[in-house]
């Protein structure tokens, strides 16, 4: 350690190649990967799932499992080569000089050990600290990660904490020995946006306080912009572009990076005037990579005979240690507007097809261990009223536990409403369970599900599943007729007809989601509830699937109820937005109304929390305190009062006593808040796009 010069990179990865060995073949996961992290620097590793970013992180920790092996290259940490270290040497470094934080905080903590013991273990092992000193240190660090009541937390078991608290503990654990390098593998992906914002702030602050270098792995470009100084974009096992974050975001020099930015909904994108451009084709499987440039087959600038001739090295690009793995980086006109962008017409809105009035859905659950204790009422939906018109996209926004899924269930008829009315076309369906609905009604209202890996029955062919939907909806007179209709549906969702014979496991996530959409439209659905249809997909696929949904919507004049927590995509595609919190609709209006002041305080915080991958955007930072309260035990009065930063503007303790009324502002914009009209009018916009 003595011979390491602090002006040299703390982590230096050179030409690293990693393969996984299965019985059948060697699967190269990472190829010729190089990057370096300077002391105190935060390096972002970005890419879609399967690009090898987590493998790099695990290789740095030398924890690739039984099948993974480093086949070439070196990883130097403080000048020492990690790839040749023995297990005993690694043990000394792990946890003391470098530490790792993972995606699933609950799974990262030992369920049978107290938090304090898990934290104190680190200095006891590495510094030979006494147990009591270690606990004292743990207490201090727990306070450092801004957790209330450290003593109680140290004596708690992991399951007694919320997701956000658990992630703070994992961070605290990583910091126990003040490591020089911190590896964060999608640390906030499993968390809600408002909780994520708090964690991101914490990580940034602690990085500065302790001078820790960071390797930050994420699929979210906005988050990387927030946290990191430098970025490395990966595609199919290779680094394709690396450099200073600002530079890469504004002057990208690799077609993949450019395509990625064109496919994510940044502020200013619009589904009609400036639609997103999806990346054509699919991510290559690790053992089916094309010769030459991996991105070649999907690239707009591809030149046969050149790009697919030989392996392409990294080329240095002018700028701050900027490099790109593109042969043509200096030939391409990077500022030219995209060629394929086609503006579309706005869809006129028609009749009201769905109307909800004062919908209430309560569940009774038994609390206490073993079903003993008293039963409590969970108010999943509280006085929901809205209407949706033909051809309209209505977005329903909210974090976990806000009641958006319950609402979908009631609409679909899987549950019946406790109170209130649902008018579907001209029918009252609030208390008609799905078994009692006619085939017509059922086929008119369909759903697209969130998880592509779960949405199709794994043991039935794609064609069979669509045909089954056609049978149930009574479409077609004969088997041949339905077969033909099924193939047409595959055309509709732009899948090859040969897919009819495939099993779902042979399809990629995006393709499965398309089949799910085809199935939902089998009976010519007029109202489609899309429950986070793209949140589990990679960004480049997201654009294609959203586009598809909207194309079908245009053709069928479908009413789309788009449930999402992702405000960027909501702003991009919805006509009207409904924001929910703990079963209440806190704000509703057109997209422009909701995304501009006056806001409901919750919407304001939500907007501020969403990371935006555009350095031109200036955001006001509002970090909410605390956690989302449980729906079993909601706070009295306004549901948001426990976390509201505007609460002091309301006279008396009105917020804590009374559920606020719905204020209708101009243009039909509704806000459920006690704040007076004057205070609301004084609100400032959260997002400002700086002039270029």
């Amino acid at each position: 350690m003595a011979d390491w010069d602090p002006s040299k990179p703390i982590l230096e990865i050179e030409n690293l190649s990693i393969s996984f060995f299965t019985r059948a073949r060697e699967i190269p996961a990472v190829m010729d990967f190089s990057c370096s992290v300077m002391p105190g620097e935060a390096m972002g590793l970005v890419g879609e799932s399967g690009c090898g970013k987590s493998t790099v992180a695990l290789a740095v920790m030398r924890d690739l499992g039984k099948t993974g092996r480093i086949v070439a290259g070196s990883i130097r940490f403080k000048g020492r080569d990690l790839t040749t270290m023995t297990e005993a040497e690694l043990q000394k470094i792990r946890g003391s000089e470098m530490a790792m934080i993972y995606q699933e905080p609950m799974a990262s903590l030992n369920p049978a050990m107290k938090i304090g013991a898990q934290l104190a273990e680190v200095p006891v092992i590495h510094e030979g600290m006494s147990k009591s000193d270690a606990w004292a240190l743990a207490r201090q660090i727990v306070a450092d990660v801004r957790l209330p009541d450290p003593d109680r937390i140290l004596n708690a078991y992991p399951h007694q904490l919320s997701g956000g608290q658990q992630q703070r503990i994992v961070i605290a654990m990583a910091l126990m020995s003040k490591p020089a390098l911190l590896i964060l593998d999608e640390p906030t992906t499993a968390l809600d946006v408002t909780v994520e914002a708090g964690i991101v702030d914490l990580v940034k602050a602690l990085g500065e306080k302790y001078g820790t270098s960071m390797l930050f792995i994420s699929h979210n470009l906005g988050l990387v912009l927030d946290v990191c100084d430098r970025i490395c974009v990966m595609y199919s096992g290779e680094a394709v572009e690396t450099g200073n974050v600002e530079q890469v975001f504004t002057e990208m020099r690799h077609p993949y990076t450019q395509a990625l930015f064109r496919s994510i909904p940044l502020p200013g994108a619009d589904k009609n005037a400036r639609p997103l451009i999806s990346i054509p084709g699919n991510f290559p499987l690790p053992h089916e990579r094309p010769p030459g440039c991996n991105f070649g087959p999907r690239c707009d600038y591809f030149q046969a005979g050149r790009c697919d001739a030989a392996e392409i090295p990294m080329f240095p690009v002018p700028g701050d240690r900027h490099a790109s793995r593109c042969l043509r980086w200096d030939e391409i006109d990077w500022t030219a507007p995209p060629a394929k962008r086609v503006a579309k017409e706005k869809l006129p809105v028609g009749e009201v097809v769905l109307k909800m009035e004062d919908l209430k859905k309560y569940y009774s659950v038994s609390t206490g261990a073993f079903g003993g204790g008293a039963t409590k009422v969970v108010k999943a939906n509280e006085t929901l009223s809205f209407e949706a018109r033909e051809g309209e996209t209505l977005a329903i926004v909210g974090e976990s536990g806000c009641g958006k899924s319950t609402f979908a269930k009631v609409l679909m008829g899987l549950e019946t409403a406790t109170d209130g009315q649902i008018m579907l076309f001209d029918e009252n369906v609030q208390s008609t369970p799905i078994q009692k609905r006619g085939a017509d009604t059922i086929s008119q209202v369909q759903m697209v599900f969130q998880n592509p890996f779960d949405t199709l029955n794994p043991s039935m062919t794609v064609g069979r599943q669509i045909i089954r939907a056609l049978e149930i909806f009574g479409v077609g007179d004969s088997d041949a007729d339905r077969e033909r209709r099924m193939l047409e549906l595959l055309d509709l969702v732009k899948l090859p007809r040969a897919f009819a014979e495939r099993m779902p496991r042979q399809l990629s996530g995006g393709q499965k989601q398309r089949v799910g959409i085809a199935r939902a439209f089998a009976g010519g659905a007029k109202v489609v509830v899309a429950d986070e249809p793209v949140s589990a997909l990679d960004v480049s696929v997201q654009a294609a699937v959203t586009d598809l949904l909207m194309d079908i919507q245009r053709q069928n004049r479908t009413t789309l109820l788009f449930i999402s927590h992702d405000l960027s995509i909501v702003r991009y595609l919805s006509d009207r937005v409904m924001v929910m919190y703990l079963g209440h609709v806190v704000e509703m209006g057109t997209t422009d109304q909701v995304f501009a002041p006056p806001y409901h305080p919750y919407t304001e915080a939500l907007l501020s929390a969403v990371p935006i991958a555009d350095p031109h955007v200036e955001k006001k930072r509002i970090v909410l305190e605390g956690e989302i309260p449980s729906a079993v035990n909601p706070p009295p009065g306004c549901p948001f009062q426990t976390r509201c930063r505007w609460k002091s503007q309301v006279p008396g303790n009105l917020c804590e006593v009374e559920v606020p009324p719905v204020q209708v502002l101009e243009g039909g914009h509704q806000i459920k808040c006690h704040l007076s009209a004057e205070v609301l009018a004084k609100m400032e916009p959260v997002i400002k796009i700086a002039a270029e």
Binding site: M61, D63, K66, E87, Q91, K92, I93, R94, G95, S96, A99, M100, Y102, E104, A107, S108, L109, N110, P111, A112, M113, E121, V122, I125, H126, Y157, H159, Q160, V170, M173, A369, F370, G372
Partner: protein, 361 residues
Amino acid sequence: MLLFVLRRIGVMILTALALTFVVFYLTNLPPNLEKLAKSEASARMTDEQVDSWLASNGFAQPVLTRYAEWLGVLPGWTGTSSDGKPMGRCLNRIPAGETPPAYCGILQGNWGWSTVFKQPVSEVLGRSLGHTGWLMLWVMIVMVPTSLILGVLSGMREGSRTDRVLSTFAIATTATPEYVSGVIFIALFASATAGISPWLAEMGWIEGKTLFQGTATSAMDGLTFWNFGLPVLTIALYGIGYIARMTRASMTEVMTQQYIRTARLKGVSFREVVMKHALRNALIAPFTVIMLQFPWLLNGVVIVETLFNYKGFGWTLVQAAGNNDINMLLACSVVAVFVVLVTQLISDIGYVFLNPRIRLA
């Protein structure tokens, strides 16, 4: 917690009542009673004689009534025999001059008279349970630590050589029911003509003709390794494989958990990872398995006691069942059902205590 235990006990009592009633019903089927009559009175009775014998011995009442009497919640039947003597459930074997009690079911501690052993059921049962207790104790002492160690060793590194060898061993033992392993053990270690005993005797390394004894009859007077080793091993072996496989499955699952990786990347050594982080989580599942193993052990006990001629609970059960000894069989079922249900209860409660996630949820 208390509520939970109470509910469990409630279900348990309900189960016990249902099960004992089923046993009572099945043992008191008309053909069984007929057999009883013929064996107690005379083998060459006519059907009418059988009926009258049954009537005069209280077997003519509805089965539910008799079940309640046996349980001790209805007063025992009374009547007169064909020769005019007063008869009654509670009259039997009461010293002359004392007033017989009105209720005499198992709730009053009256288990009845065993027709095979010609003794009160409670005496036979007490003695045989004592014998079986020793057997069970030694089985547990051998089985539990062995199986847990084997399971943890093979589960901590899935796919390693140790794992493959131990797993194969565990599979082999679960494929070997007691009546097979017992037979093989006796042939190998306790046969004067086969296995290793003749060879050992020739070398002069053992005094008797065989290394182990092929029966455990002498163990009822004094336990030794040589007369008790084979029965214990036979029962334990089957359980070892089963519990070891459960432990292995649980251990391999725990070892792939994220928190094990967390611990490893904290710099904890492999041994410490296993001992401190994995073990407690991995042993939660096997604990329940061990407890639920008891019905199985009862099976093993019955087979082994029959095979080794050890007059414990299992042997008694076989004698009672084979000779239509209704009271004895009922008593055995009560004990068996009770053991099974109590271990289930312990398993449930223990699980809650071992698993902090449930305890405080």
